[in-house]
Amino acid sequence: MTVTLTPDVSLQISGLWKTFGDFVALKDISLEVMDGEFVCFLGPSGCGKTTLLRAIAGLDLQTRGTVIQDGRDVSALPPSQRDFGIVFQSYALFPNLTVHRNIAYGLENQGRTRSEIRARVAELLETMGLPDQSDKYPAQLSGGQQQRVALARAIATSPGLLLLDEPLSALDAKVRVRLRHEIKDLQRRLGVTTIMVTHDQEEALSMADRIVVMNHGVIEQIGSPTAVYRDPVSLFVAGFIGEMNQFDARVVDSGRVRVGQSEFCCRTHDHEAGAAVVAAIRPDEIVPLGTGYRPSPEDVNCEKVTLADMAFLGSFWRCLLHSEDFGREALMADFPTNAVRRLSLEAGQDIHVSLQESGLMAFARDV
């Protein structure tokens, strides 16, 4: 079998299916991961992201399709004959072995001498910031430390691919945020191709070079964090990543939609005039114009609303807005704290807001 690849493709997945009886867990997945890239599989639980990761590792074989790693067809190979390191959500540290022996586990039987192994383990512990923990048992470490040991064990043999299965979800919020940066930093230094499975969109946005958004066993969108955030291709992606106001609308003509009695400039994509769509906008794309604002005719997307409720969330205020055009559904808007101060906004006021044209998008309704 001849495989033609551009030189920097690390992993190529094509036509991958996984079925359990009648249930289709993965449906015709095709994907390329570049050398040194950090890719996140993101989606709600049951979307197939872990199934896909396990297929790549050879832990649960796919029903159809091929996996090619560094030009080698590994589709049917057992895990032991593939080239990857893996970290699980549970870390799967061997409880009866010390930290040192856990990390050294994969270095044994590889033609290394004892002192080489010791040096390598010491180096890894140093990298992980755990230099004096080597004689402890896993149960004596904190969750974050265990996480790092698991990571050290996975990269000890310098695998060509690092697989992370929800590595941070067992940790508390602060440690999680710190480890995000550490893992990302480590990955960049080592240059190891990495795939991480997560259901946490913040984690994906802050760590990944590219995000693969999955739902119901199919890939909804592949793109950089900014791309999937700014230009979601479907209502699912729009709703899953970040907050999103959604309301029914009708396309007037290209670039314009009607909501209630008003028309708005909008990215209508390729929906035809007259089509019933769902318009969506993120809370931070709604900009407050103040109480005394007099809209001029050039003002597009200006809407008069009632400021129904405000909640202080530190750097911004989360506000609920009511308007005739949007009916009973409240619009959610995030106003910067300094804007609220400048405009002296208070709950109960009638104000004008602007729905940013670049942030207002139309999507097909879910069938």
Partner: protein
């Protein structure tokens, strides 16, 4: 979703390439599965086919010719069936027999005299017809001519066929089929009594602040350490014909259902107690807080919270006890008297009457209730697990003097019963001649002077127990590891699981008898095992396979299921993970399995009673045989030797476990 499946591109499934570890693990699994097939499935099949093989004399198969006094055969040959009709000798039912059936030819000739000069000829009318002349076997249609003196030694052999005749005979013979009712009655009554007592005991230990709980817990487990026939011996001393408490029975005999039930309560008590105690221990304190917040009366709380919470434990315990009682052989053998039960019937048919086919029939009958009880128990246990939640708060009893004293009294009565039985045995073993000379002596320990194999049988038992524990633990744990931790091969693993569960449903008597049929068959190359220590070990491992297997599986399931994946991704052999991580982490469970096998090997009677030879007699068998021979005091002495040995083994096990915990389980303690 099925339309999506239809969209699946054509072509074959991706077939996994196996690495060496996968292949090795599958091979080993097949090896252990084969072990179970040979030591369980084949013998059971042999027994089943024995139960449907029938033997009867077919008189149309034999033809005789008789000469005159000069030796001339002038008269025409005559069929045996014709002679039978003329003489009106045997009816249809009289001609049914066993595999060893022999019918003397002379019975068809009332005027036969072995001194007569008359000559006889005999032949078969079909190729399969067989008869014996002395010990020489003849088959076929050739005439055989014999003088009177030799004809005297001619025996007709029956024709073999298969069918349900044996079962018809069984159900048509009240002496046999009454045992079904007897067994069911005994098992039901014993179950009810045991469950009530065990529940009270477990309730007291879990839900009250009665004193000496640790001691009571210890006492409750003691009966596990002795053979089931030991309480029978104690009851003979207490309530037998010369028993010291005979008056309490008010004229009833202890030899019969009363004795069996009391003894059964004794030996099944720890099993019921353990299960019910676990069920009570896991119940949720928050439910009791809710009940008291709702002002429910204690009585109402008991019926709406306690009983429902423990119901799976109660049901499971009931079926375990039922199964133990109905399959038990030792106790009714010792104390059953004329009251026949199924397990003893098997023994009587096989050892007493050498009627192997009927023994097989009774075995099949006994398997049915045992199998049912087993199935219900498995079903219920699955539900019990589902009930557990990680958030449950353990119940902490609050002191209440009056109530705690009542529960203490209740526990004390049961403890006195258990210790009393053991105490009576020990006392009886030490007195010179019950009840006439109560001075103490060690005469009853001179086992070499009695039937039953003497001290050699005691050492045999220890040897058998140690070998069983060592080999059995290795086979069972390794088998459980393979079935739990190997990849793919789902069908093979499911079949293995099924085989591993089967032994629990097979009563010991049935297993032992099945072994006779399978291993004593001269055509079987494994026949060399018959009569050796090896067959006792094999039989005992198989007999106690299931519980050990479940212990191993539970321990293995508690390990992170990703260990194998991590190890494989680090390119390390599966056996390295097994020896470096799996075995050390599971060491407490491994020790539990070995002590379980040892204790049971020491106490088991039912399976091995068919399989021991004079050289491999066991202590538990010696108890049975000495009791049978009337040497009841030495039987009690030997029974107590088993008790002390098992108790010592338990203590060693405990010390060993502690030591092992300290060294290899350091990671458990921060």
């Amino acid at each position: 979703m099925s339309e999506s499946v239809a969209a699946l591109p054509k072509g074959g499934r991706v077939r996994a390439k196996l690495d060496r570890d996968d292949v090795m693990m599958r091979l080993w699994m097949v090896v252990i599965a084969l072990y179970l097939v040979v030591t369980l499935a084949f013998p059971l099949y042999a027994m089943l086919s024995k139960s449907v093989s029938t033997f009867r004399f077919d008189l149309t198969w034999f033809e005789f010719q008789v000469s005159d006094e000069e030796g001339h055969f002038n008269t025409a040959p005559i069929l045996a069936s014709a002679l039978n009709a003329d003489l009106d000798l045997y009816g249809e039912t009289d001609l049914a027999t066993g595999s060893d059936g022999r019918l003397p030819a002379t019975t068809f000739f009332p005027e036969f005299s072995f001194r007569s000069p008359v000559m006889y000829r005999i032949r078969g009318t079909v190729d399969d017809a067989t008869f014996l002349v002395g010990s020489t076997r003849h088959q076929g249609r050739e005439w055989v001519e014999l003088d009177s003196n030799t004809f005297r030694r001619v025996q007709l052999r029956p024709a073999a066929s298969s069918g349900l005749d044996n079962f018809r005979t069984y159900f048509a013979t009240p002496a046999l089929s009454n045992s079904i009712t007897n067994s069911l009655v005994i098992a039901t009554v014993s179950t009810i009594v045991t469950i009530v007592l065990a529940f009270a005991f477990a309730y007291a230990l879990n839900r009250s602040c009665a004193r000496f709980k640790g001691f009571f817990r210890l006492v409750a487990m003691a009966p596990i350490l002795v053979p089931s026939l030991l309480p029978g011996i104690a009851l003979v001393y207490l309530f037998g014909n010369q028993g010291m408490l005979k008056g309490l029975l008010m004229g009833e005999s202890i030899y019969g259902p009363i004795g069996i039930v009391i003894g059964a309560v004794f030996f099944t008590f720890p099993h019921a107690f353990l299960i019910i105690s676990t069920a009570l221990a896991i119940s949720d304190a928050r439910l009791y807080e809710a009940a008291s917040a709702l002002r429910a009366s204690p009585w109402k709380t008991f019926w709406t919270v306690t009983i429902p919470g423990a119901r799976y434990g109660l049901i499971s315990a009931a079926f375990v006890v039922f199964n133990l009682v109905i399959t038990d052989f030792g106790l009714p053998k010792v104390i059953g008297g004329q009251y026949n039960v199924l397990a003893v019937d098997i023994y009587k048919q096989v050892i007493g009457q050498q009627n192997f086919e009927m023994g097989a029939v009774v075995s099949v009958v006994l398997v049915i209730p045992a199998l049912l009880a087993f199935a219900v128990d498995r079903f219920v246990q699955r539900r019990q697990v589902a009930q557990l939640t990680a958030r449950s708060v353990p119940f902490q009893p609050k002191p209440d003097r009056a109530r705690d004293r009542a529960w203490f009294a209740c526990c004390a009565v049961i403890a006195v019963f258990i210790l009393g039985i053991l105490g009576v045995c020990q006392f009886a073993a030490l007195v010179k001649f019950w009840p006439y000379d109560l001075s103490l002596s060690l005469n009853n320990y001179r086992f070499d002077l009695m039937d039953g194999g003497g001290w050699a049988s005691y050492y045999n038992s220890i040897k058998m127990g140690l070998i069983t524990a060592a080999i059995g633990t290795v086979i069972i744990f390794f088998g459980a590891f393979l079935v739990e931790k190997s990849n793919g091969f789902t069908t093979g693993r499911n079949i293995f699981q099924m085989f591993a569960m089967l032994p629990m449903a097979i009563p010991g008597m049935v297993l032992g008898l099945a072994y006779i049929f399978f291993f004593n068959d001269p055509a079987n190359p494994l026949n060399v095992l018959y009569g050796t220590m090896a067959i006792l070990v094999i039989c005992t491992i198989t007999h106690f396979y299931t519980v050990s297997h479940l212990t191993a599986v539970t321990a293995l399931k508690q390990m992170d299921r990703e260990f194998e994946a991590v190890s494989a991704s680090l390119k390390q052999p599966a056996m390295k993970l097994f020896s470096r991580v799996t075995v050390p982490v599971c060491l407490p469970a491994i020790l539990d399995i070995s002590i379980y096998l040892f204790v049971n090997a020491m106490t088991t009677v039912s399976a091995v009673v068919f399989l021991y030879s004079p050289k491999t007699s066991l202590a538990s068998i010696a108890v049975l045989n000495m009791d049978d021979a009337g040497d009841i005091a030495p039987a009690a002495a030997m029974g107590m030797m088993i008790f002390y040995t098992n108790a010592a083994a338990r203590i060693i096990h405990l010390a060993l476990s502690r030591g092992v915990m300290k060294r290899t389980q350091a990671w458990r303690f921060r």
